[in-house]
């Protein structure tokens, strides 16, 4: 089987197959082998990689997959041939430029730091949401221009609710 994986920012092609309880995987020239067995309780596997024991849990996340291992979470993006085609037609890249800031959890908006038309840069805080007795500054991950502010201060917001929309920054606008 064949697919593309983005791990720590690098996208690589991966082919793999299984022989009984052996998993054989190849990616840019490297060959990985492991004994695997599914464990009860969620999508969890025990892997023995050249004898080294790892328990990994796979769960769908907002963006692709999250692999949990020894308390650490490793985000992994997986693309199928079909999806990849779609992206290379450009749609994917253009879409990736814009951005929507959403509430990570239910809470109350205590401050909005931007208005439509403002230019914002990656890492800048645009909204403050209070939840679990903490005030949390929500930041943007790309440069851009605020296109919409969808909530007002003191508004109660639900998890995942869109708060602010950004248009691509002029710099990135060739798409």
């Amino acid at each position: 089987m064949r697919f593309w994986v983005t791990l720590e920012g690098r996208e690589t092609e991966v082919t793999f197959h299984t022989e009984g309880d052996r998993l054989i995987l190849e990616t840019d020239g490297r060959r990985l082998e492991a004994d695997f067995v599914p464990l009860p309780d969620g999508e969890v596997y025990s892997l023995l990689i050249e004898g080294r024991s790892h328990v990994v849990r796979v769960s769908p996340a907002a963006e692709g997959l999250e692999v949990e291992l020894r308390g650490a979470v490793i985000p992994v993006e997986v693309k199928h041939p079909l999806e990849r085609m779609l992206q290379q037609s450009g749609g994917g890249r253009a879409a990736a430029r814009g951005e929507t800031i959403t509430a990570p959890m239910p809470g109350v908006v205590v401050a909005i730091r931007v208005k439509p038309g403002d230019a914002v840069s990656a890492g800048q805080a645009v909204v403050v949401v209070e939840a679990m007795k903490m005030q949390n500054e929500l930041t943007v991950t790309h440069d851009g221009i605020v296109s919409e502010v969808l909530v007002g201060e003191r508004a109660a917001v639900a998890a995942g609710q869109a708060l602010v929309r950004l248009a691509p920054a002029p710099a990135g606008g060739e798409a």
Binding site: L47, R57, G71, V76, L82
Partner: protein, 502 residues
């Protein structure tokens, strides 16, 4: 005074569970309260009895004074244990208990009043001959007042909510500009958290350690010092990891520190368990900060080295008995650390996280104690704080305790909400932490979000896991396709497109 047989716990979560344990071990009836979303909370399942007290928001349930007192009377509670937070340091509540003929487990309302107000507490400390940090004589009303004060004693300054505590509503400002940015936010948080926007100001000590004294006092006037706890590792003034003893202390510092703490307690006629908080500067001088008139989140580390049950001692004192150890508190033995396991995402600026506990396996084995209020399948409610568990370890020395903590964290399986287990492992393995070089600025100086980047072996495992997931998904799809060509297949395709469109 009569034995307290029926004890109501005006709290929730891990501390309610912890109090239930001592009540059961001492043959008392434990009575829990629960808000609507807490109907399935562990403290409700574990208590002997449990009663509803209203909707999720604290003010409508756990902070609904009339309802709590009325319930306690109706169910014939002999006493109320407030835990920490909620009514733990509320003199009005303590008075309402007394008026209802119910014993409040804690110090007297007068003591709570005297120590709850930071300015009165400072006066008490000064009267007891205990040094305090230079600060504003009272709350300041405008930024200009603060700037004037800053010109007196200089930046950096600490803004502190007059009604605050537990690190809530505190901010450091290093310049007039920072002050302008922080002033409204601080007063806003103060108002939201304590219904009191008043803020005062004191000198901020660079690279301070936070060290506190655990004390126990009974009605004979006896005040026992049970050793210090170092709680320097903090984020946004929230303690993350506590330990006892403090790596900064020698015997002489400990003696002077213990005496100072006891003097403050005696000054206000303290009763029951309490914590006297100090900060320690780089010259190891300590300054009185405040007294927490309650059981502390981090009390277990003291229990680990002394073998005492602090809740049991509180019950003795509330019954008018003397402390179990009289004038001879047990010699502390070994070293203990507590890691607060919190529902937050270290990779995303420690953003609080919620959701159901999908899978949990607590660490076990030698020298490990768990205190938690969660279980598999439990939904962490959004209304309350995000402490999921306290992992406490004991070792014969600091190094064994530290390495045991690393081992236990490695063994801890907790899935569902994001959490800070991997962060604690990073912390416990950090050379500066290992060397005991701590200060409240530890994270500021050493933490980088990239710190949790997985190693090559983990990356390989993740890659293999992703492949197994793909394999499983395709098997599901094939099964689906076989069963129903349109359905299953198109779902897969759509999810594909959706992901592609990101």
């Amino acid at each position: 005074m009569a034995r307290l047989n029926r004890v109501l716990i005006a709290n929730r979560g891990e501390i309610a569970v912890r109090i239930i344990r001592t009540l059961r071990e001492t043959g008392r009836t434990s009575i829990a309260l629960f808000s609507e979303p807490d109907r399935t909370a562990l403290h409700v399942l574990m208590a002997d009895e449990a009663y509803a007290i209203g909707p999720g928001p604290s003010k409508d349930s756990y902070l609904n004074l009339e309802r709590v007192i009325e319930t306690a009377k109706r169910v014939r509670a002999d006493a109320i244990h407030p835990g920490y937070g909620f009514f733990a340091e509320n003199a009005t509540f303590a008075r309402a208990c007394a008026a209802a003929g119910i014993v409040f487990i804690g110090p007297s309302p007068e003591t709570i009043d005297a120590l709850g107000d930071k300015l009165m507490a400072r006066k008490a400390a000064l009267a007891a001959g205990v040094p305090v940090v230079p600060g504003s004589p009272g709350p300041l009303e405008t930024r200009d007042e603060v700037k004037a004060f800053a010109r007196e004693i200089g930046y950096p300054l600490m803004l502190k909510a007059a009604a605050g505590g537990g690190g809530k509503g505190m901010r450091v400002v290093r310049s007039d500009a920072e002050l302008d940015a922080a002033w409204d936010l601080t007063r806003g948080e103060a108002l939201a958290a304590f219904g009191d926007a008043r803020v005062f100001v004191e000198r901020y000590i660079e690279r301070p350690r936070h060290v506190e004294a655990q004390i126990l006092a009974d009605h004979t006037g006896r005040v026992a010092f049970l050793g210090e706890r170092e709680c320097s590792v903090q984020r946004r003034h929230q303690k993350l990891l506590e330990e006892t003893p403090s790596p900064a202390f020698d015997a002489e510092t400990r003696r002077a520190f213990g005496e100072a703490a006891c003097r403050v307690a005696q000054q206000v006629g303290y009763l029951s368990a309490g914590t006297v908080e100090f900060i320690l500067d780089e010259q190891r001088r300590f300054y009185f900060l405040e007294v927490n008139t309650r059981l502390q989140v981090e009390h277990p580390v003291t229990e680990m080295v002394t073998g005492l049950d602090l809740v049991a001692e509180q019950l003795r004192v509330a019954e008018g008995q003397e402390l179990s150890f009289g004038d001879h508190p047990p010699e502390p033995r070994g070293w203990s650390m507590e890691a607060r396991i919190i529902a937050e995402d270290p990779a995303r600026n420690f953003m609080p996280s919620v959701g159901a506990i999908e899978r949990v396996r607590f660490p076990q084995g030698p020298g490990v104690r768990n205190d938690s209020g969660v279980y598999r399948g439990y939904e962490v409610p959004v209304f309350y704080d995000s402490l999921l568990a306290k992992l406490v370890v004991w070792g014969s020395d600091r190094e064994q305790a530290r390495l045991r903590l690393v081992r236990a964290l490695d063994e801890f399986v907790l899935e569902g909400p994001h959490h800070n287990i991997a962060f604690h492992a990073w912390l416990a393995l950090h050379p500066e932490f290992a060397a005991g070089n701590l200060s409240t600025r530890f994270l500021e100086e050493h933490w980088k979000p990239g710190a949790l980047k997985p190693g090559p072996e983990a990356t390989s495992a993740a890659l293999l896991a992703a492949a197994l997931h793909e394999r499983a998904e395709r098997q599901r799809v094939q099964v689906g396709a076989a069963r129903d060509d349109a359905g299953a297949r198109s779902t897969w395709k759509w999810s594909g497109v959706e992901r592609g469109g990101r």
